[in-house]
Structure formats: structure tokens, C-alpha cells
Amino acid sequence: MDSTIIILAAMDGVAYAALVFLVSVGLSLIFGVLRIVNVAHGSLYAYGAYVAASLALAVSGISPWLTYPALIVASILVGVLIGGAMEYFLLRPVYGREEVLQLLITFAVFMIMDNVQRLIWGVQPISMAVPLTLLPNVEIFGVNYTSYQVILLPAVALLALAGLRYFLRYTLSGAVILAVTEDREAATAIGIDAKRVFLITFIVGASLAALGGALASPTTSLLPGMGTEMIVLSFAVAATAGLGQIEGTAVAALMIGLARAFAIYTYPEFEVLVPYLIMVLVLLIRPQGLFGVNRVRKI
């Protein structure tokens, strides 16, 4: 394999990994703190994309540059309104109950959101590429890339990773979340409002899924079922890393993104298989994931 292919594949792999990381890390964060596998996480990704596209199309007439803030606003709106409502009204009543019940509730939410999505936005693919077209293309070895995908998306993913690390390790709120994660009863006993921590964590996780969708919206067609695709992939990434592992999720996303890109360049038949092959191999060797630790909650 010549160096040109390695560099080109690496560019594609990193761009792909950036989006996958944003969604997967939200899933992992929620599991790490709430111990809930949120099946509706893919729907939050889809809603982030649809709301972002709707907002961006609405403001692009005023100034195309307003589409960038629209992507951020959409992510926060979806995270706070939908994520917040989901945690407060549906998940809070079932904490401490059987895990399967929580799983079923999030699955039901996923089904409902999928149908509501079709009612609101219809079934025809929607496209909104304005933010992407505002940035120039870059040429690498004669191949054109959009700087949106190879520069902006990885930069946002890195910022999100650094931000989450800083928040959890160096802020009081982060310390509170870690305390609740480690021992909810002890944390509650010293006056920490665990319910509030759960709500905030869920909103942050949901907003990250929505941010992934919002940032993906200029690059893809929005259509029914897009959330399903992403939830399967983000589960693979989160499971490979070990559920609840922030940095591990970044490494797993990068690993899967790069492996997929190299597969397309060398053995395209394996493109679909690669992420899941990696997950199965990792779980066979380390059932807790690459960075997971048995019986210890970590985020």
C-alpha cells in the first residue's frame, strides 16, 4: 500500500470517526452515569439533524453564516427539550427497576420518535448543505476534500473530547457527576441531588447525539431510518471502547473509522463488516471492552 493511499484513507477515516465519536460518546456518558442503554439515542441524532436543517434553511436567507449557530442551537434545543423531557417524565420513574424495563421504555421512545419524525418532516429526503458550501475545499494528492469534513468536524470532536475531560475532571459539577456515578447512595447522603445530576447528564448526552446529527446534516440526506443506522454504529463503538469510557470511545471511533476507510480503499467488500468485526473481536478478548473495567463504574 503506497503512502498516498495511507494518507487519503486516514483523512477519510478521521472525518468519519469524528461524527461517530460525537454520537457514541453521548451514549457512553449516559450509560456511565445512569446505567441506561438508551436505544432512543439514534432518534436524538436524527432529530438533531432534522431540527438543524429546518433552522438553517429558515435563517440561510438572512445570512448563510447564520446556519452555523443554527446547528448549535438545534443541538441544544433537542438535548434540553427532548432529552430533558425523556429523562424527567419517562426514565426517572423507573430508576432502580429492572434494567429491561428501562431498555423497553427507550425502545418505545425510539419507535414513537421515528413515527413523529415522519409526521413532521415527511419521508422525502431533505438536504441542507449551506454550511459545508461556505468553507473552501482542500486538495490533497490531487483529491478534493471539503474542509468542513476533514478540518471542522475533527476539530469539533476534539473540542468535545477535551471539554468533557475538563468538565468531569476539573469542575465541581463534574466531580459531583463522578461522585454519583461511583456511589449514588453515598453521594445522596452528603447532600448531592442525584436526580439533578441524572437530568443534566442525560441532557448533555442527548445534546451530543443531536450535535452529531446537526453536524452531519450538511453532508448527507436526511431521511427516515437515519437514526437506526447511527444507533447501531454508535453501540458498536461504545461497546468496543467499554460502555462509560469517554477517552476509550474516542480511540474506538478512530479505530473503526480508520479501519472502515482502509477497507474501502483495499477490500471494499469488508466496508460494512469492519466495525462489527472489530467489536466482536474486542469483545471476545475483552468482554468489558478495550478500556472497560469490570464492576467499576467509570466515565
Binding site: T4, I5, L8, A9, M11, D12, G13, A15, Y16, L19, D114, N115, R118, G122, V123, Q124, P125, S127, A129, L132, T133, N137, F141, G142, V143, N144, Y145, T146, Q149, A216, T219, T220, S221, L222, L223, P224, G225, M226, T228, E229, M230, R260, A261, I264, Y265, P268, E269, E271, V272
Partner: protein, 434 residues
């Protein structure tokens, strides 16, 4: 004497039974069960098709229905998954007692439901699925395809490509990773081997169905610089692939062939450049050069536009073909039954060799295998002032018999026997607006 009485009674009973069979009581309504995608990515086809079915049924009933009997529609969601599809189909036939079914969009759904329709002895129209193998592998009595199959569709596209751009040297292929993507690849790759033996196949990609990102495939294609990129993808996947290719200059670098792209041109709008080869998946297009001025054609296009906000795409035309075939079959069976309402078996008999005219050239249901013989439209995109999306120019209409696999032959075996002269077949050519 008792023997004579018994004989008379037996003859009388026979006559009564025969009489009942030849003069069925006209039902209060003719029930049609339709499978279509109402959820999932393929609902981009399924929902417009449902809208078309509702529109067609309404119009048909206004005109007195079929043989004076109004039609009533029931829908099943193909997106609910294979198991649910099969059980819902069985329920429609056995509990709701539909008279005929239109199933399905997906070739996977057709593969599941065709044998079931045979078991249940219910007449079924494969109204949209394109897998050629279904009717080639086994003889069926109750299943018919009211449109062409993928073999004719792809052969028309390849022939068009070789007619308008005969000098290409390298080709790449992209398709969704499922039955249609693989089957269309087999047809196209085998056809190019014999029709354009000097063309080099430089890459083939089968991204996951519903893949949101084609960036890596686009990078690879930009690096490989193929003269031609053929894709048989459809729906949102095709939109994404075309847009991502356009954003990065691939559409300018290679000649693109969107083998079933007619359904995407309205959505792609200005993102689809001029000079892209587009297949229509049959003999239908909202600006069909031979029929666009017919009053019934114009009325259907306008009614569909009014109902859905878009011009009809091929699933809407395929649905119309199924309705027209059904009416034609009942009319033929009623006539053969001396004006009496026919039995179901008589309608099935009428389907064999049936000819009907919808919004394209006449279509014939081949007697040997129940396969519809339908002409094929292929064109090249062009910008015109009347529309905010590209329309088709340099349109060729290929005769059905010329591009379809002959009866009794397997498609790939037939394709392998073709010679480069195959592409010299005549096809009527039209400019946009002609």
C-alpha cells in the same frame, strides 16, 4: 329407475355448479391488498406510491370501478419487516378476503410473498420489484409482473451509455449492499464484458443500505479517475452520493450514470449537473415525449402534483400500471365470460398474454412466465428554464422486446451471449420539448 333419477340429479347438480362458476355474483366491492413501504428509507417510494394508489382508486370509482364494481384498498407496510409482512399478507388474503394483491416494492418482499400467493391461490401483481430471477426460476400461475424487470432496465441503460459515450476506457460501480445492488451489478458487469470488452472495471463499492456517508468512496473514485461511474442506488442514498460527489468535483471528473435515477432528479434540483445519464426504470416519465400531451396523461400528472406537491416518479407510474392491468384483466375476463362477472380463476387466466396501455407504450404480460414487457426510457440531464431541477434530454425509448431477457432464458446466460452489435439497436430519440 333409481339409477336414472340419480343420473338426472347428478347432471342437474353439475349444471348448477357449472352455471354458478360461469356466472359469479357481482361483489359489492373489489378488494385490493397493496404492500408498500410506509416506513423506513424506502418510504421515499412507498408513500408516493400509496398516494398514487388512493388517487387512482378514487378516479376509477368515479368512473364506475371495474366492471361496475368499486375498488377498495388495504395497505400493508413493507417496512415492518419480513415476518410481519408475511403474516399481514396472509391476514389480508384469508381474513379480509382481498380479491387481488399488489406486492411489492422490495425484491426481498416479492421473494417472500410470491410463493405465498401461489399457496393461497391469490392473484398477485409484482407492481414494482425488479429482481429478474423471481419469474425465471419457477413457473407461477398466480403471480405476474406488470412492469419490466431489472434486466431490461439495466440493459437499456448500458445500451444508452454505449451509444452516447462509446469511447470510455475505465468504469467504476457503486450500489447499495442488498439484493438489488448485487443483481444489478451482475447484469451490468456481465453486459460490459461482452458489449465493451476493452473497458476496465477499476472499482466497485457496495456501501451499507441507508449509508449516510460516501466520503471515502468519493475519495477513492477521485483518486482512481474512472471515465464512467455507474450507480444503481436510489432514494436518499443516491441523493447523498450525488451531492457528496458534486461537492468534491467528482461529477465533473467522471461521466455519471444514475441507472434508476429518475426518481431523484426533482429532489436533487440544482445539485445534479447537466450531462448525467439517467434511467427511468420503465417507459414512464412525467414529460414522456410520446404521451405527455395526452389528456389522460396530463390529468394524472397534474392530479398527482396537486396531491403530493411533486411530479409523479416511477413508483407512481408502476402503481398506475398495476391498476390498469387489473382493469384490463377483469374486462377481458368479463368479455370471455359472456358479460358475466368472472371467477378469480378466470381473471387469472385473462392475465396470460394480456396487453394494456397505461401512460407509456402498450405493455404485454408474457404468456410463458407472467413477465411484463415494457419499453425503457433513458436520457441525459439538462437544465431548462421551466423547471428548477434538471429534465431529461436526448431521450431514447427502447422497445421492450429488444432489451428484455427472452422467455425461457436466464438473464445472465442470455447477457453473456450478446455481441457488441447489440448496442446498434434502434431506439427512437427525442430532445427535451419534442
Amino acid at each position: 329407475m333409481s339409477f336414472v333419477r340419480s343420473l338426472i340429479a347428478a347432471v342437474g347438480l353439475s349444471l348448477a355448479v357449472t352455471g354458478a362458476a360461469s356466472a359469479q355474483q357481482k361483489p359489492a366491492e373489489l378488494k385490493i391488498g397493496i404492500t408498500t413501504f410506509l416506513s423506513g428509507p424506502a418510504s421515499v417510494f412507498g408513500v408516493p406510491a400509496k398516494a398514487a394508489a388512493e388517487l387512482l382508486a378514487e378516479e376509477l370509482n368515479k368512473k364506475g370501478g371495474i366492471g361496475g364494481v368499486p375498488v377498495k384498498l388495504s395497505f400493508i407496510d413493507e417496512g415492518a419487516g419480513g415476518e410481519a409482512l408475511v403474516s399481514n399478507y396472509r391476514r389480508l388474503v384469508t381474513d379480509e378476503k382481498v380479491d387481488v394483491t399488489f406486492a411489492s416494492i422490495s425484491s426481498g418482499s416479492c421473494t417472500q410473498l410470491v410463493p405465498l400467493a401461489e399457496d393461497l391461490k391469490i392473484m398477485n401483481f409484482m407492481w414494482d420489484c425488479g429482481a429478474y430471477s423471481i419469474l425465471e426460476n419457477k413457473k407461477h400461475r398466480y403471480n405476474f409482473r406488470t412492469q419490466a424487470n431489472g434486466a431490461a432496465e439495466m440493459m437499456a441503460v448500458i445500451t444508452y451509455l454505449l451509444k452516447v459515450k462509446p469511447d470510455f476506457k475505465t468504469v467504476a460501480f457503486v450500489a447499495q449492499d442488498y439484493a438489488w445492488g448485487r443483481e444489478s451489478h451482475d447484469i451490468i458487469s456481465n453486459a460490459l464484458k461482452v458489449l465493451k470488452p476493452d473497458a476496465k472495471w477499476v472499482a466497485e463499492f457496495f456501501p451499507k443500505f441507508g449509508a449516510p456517508d460516501y466520503s471515502t468512496e468519493v475519495s477513492r473514485l477521485l483518486a482512481l479517475r474512472p471515465d464512467v461511474v455507474i450507480t444503481t442506488s436510489w432514494g436518499g442514498d443516491l441523493d447523498t452520493f450525488v451531492r457528496q460527489s458534486g461537492q468534491r468535483g467528482l461529477l465533473k471528473q467522471s461521466t455519471f450514470v444514475l441507472a434508476i435515477g429518475e426518481s431523484s432528479i426533482q429532489r436533487l434540483g440544482k445539485d445534479l449537473p447537466e450531462g448525467v445519464i439517467v434511467g427511468a426504470r420503465g417507459d414512464h416519465y412525467f414529460l414522456h415525449p410520446e404521451f405527455k400531451n395526452e389528456p389522460s396523461f396530463k390529468a394524472y400528472v397534474q392530479a398527482f402534483k396537486d396531491k403530493t406537491g411533486a411530479f409523479p416518479i416511477y413508483p407512481a407510474f408502476h402503481m398506475s400500471q398495476a391498476f390498469t392491468a387489473l382493469k384490463a384483466a377483469y374486462d377481458k375476463a368479463i368479455k370471455a365470460n359472456n358479460g358475466n362477472w368472472p371467477s378469480r380463476e378466470q381473471v387469472v387466466d385473462a392475465m396470460s398474454g394480456l396487453e394494456f396501455k397505461d401512460f407509456g407504450r402498450p405493455i404485454k404480460i408474457r404468456e410463458e412466465d407472467g413477465q411484463g414487457l415494457e419499453a425503457q426510457i433513458v436520457g441525459t440531464t439538462k437544465q431548462v428554464p421551466e423547471y428548477d431541477f434538471k429534465v431529461l434530454d436526448n431521450i431514447m425509448v427502447f422497445d421492450a422486446e429488444k432489451v428484455a431477457t427472452p422467455a425461457g432464458q436466464k438473464t445472465i446466460d442470455w447477457v453473456k451471449t450478446l455481441k457488441p452489435d447489440f448496442v446498434k439497436m434502434e431506439a427512437k430519440t427525442y430532445k427535451h420539448g419534442q
